[in-house]
Amino acid sequence: MKSLEDLKKLRDQIREDMKIRAKGERVKITIGMGTTGIASGAREVLKAIVSELEIRNFSDVEILQTGSIGLDAKEPLLTIEKPGLPKVTYGLVTIEMAKRIVVEHVINSQIIGDWVIRSS
């Protein structure tokens, strides 16, 4: 961004985009951001998620954080709640895994079974 004008331009563009697009139900993405999560790479995982969402032009998401949920050995932890699908938690999430989870699960509704550590 060179100037604040760029920000205004982007704002107007996003606003137009939001008008055109039918609002889908939002996907809830929750990442573990306690001390262990942060030390295990949660910040980089979250960055990868946001970047993939940006590339895929998918913004019907709500991104939330949680503290330790007692599964520290499996951090970074990522929980996805998409309407119509079970709530699923992935463990030991890497940057590469995070990108695939966004494309396959968050956008295309395909749970990646091999990486799931908890499902409800």
Binding site: M1, I38, L46, E54, I63, Q65
Partner: protein, 178 residues
């Protein structure tokens, strides 16, 4: 933690957990030392403040991480100093000074990712970030961005991308780029 920026993210999350509405992060560096200060208007911390540095003590049912004990460890190893001011109802102010020559001092690291991550997760909190290096400084205020964005959320993926490059460019300038 591999970077001080990760310790800072941990402390920022503490402020969020204390329901802060406004947070100020100040980083002041010169060739000899680095000073980091975090002020919030959250719920504050009750009781004996030395206990906050105890890794086996937690103020809120284990939700409080090891943020402060980890910082305290670096401060002790590097013979820096640390100050915590907090009262229930009037927020918390954590500040510490670390000598740059210390072999146990992690690099500051990716402060831009820390700020962007925090804003992604807590768009409602106003974060002011001031970074000073010698006589140069850079100030970022998320509230100004939000005012400009009006109804568009600051944590929209495209806004975050722009925010990241904005912070990166400004930090590059601060560290002596053109």
């Amino acid at each position: 933690m591999k970077e001080l920026a990760l310790n800072i993210l941990d402390l920022l999350e503490n402020s969020a957990a204390a329901r802060a509405n406004n947070i100020m992060l100040i980083i002041n560096e010169n060739t000899d030392k680095i000073h980091i200060e975090l002020k919030d208007d959250g719920s504050g911390i009750n009781g004996n403040q030395n206990r906050l540095l105890d890794p086996f003590y937690s103020s809120k049912n284990k939700k409080f991480g090891l943020g402060l004990p980890f910082i305290n460890e670096i401060v002790t190893l590097c013979q820096g100093n640390m100050d915590i001011q907090s009262k229930p109802g009037s927020g918390t102010n954590v500040s510490f000074n670390l000598p740059k020559g210390c072999i146990d001092l992690p690099p500051l690291g990716d402060i831009v990712s820390t700020i962007v991550t925090f804003i992604t997760l807590h768009p409602e909190i106003n974060l002011r970030y001031e970074h000073l290096i010698e006589e140069k400084y850079f100030i970022f205020d998320s509230q100004e961005f939000k005012t400009m964005l009006e109804d568009v959320p600051i944590n929209h993926p495209e806004v975050l991308k722009l925010l990241e490059s904005y912070l990166e460019n400004n930090l590059k300038n601060l560290y002596g780029g053109n």
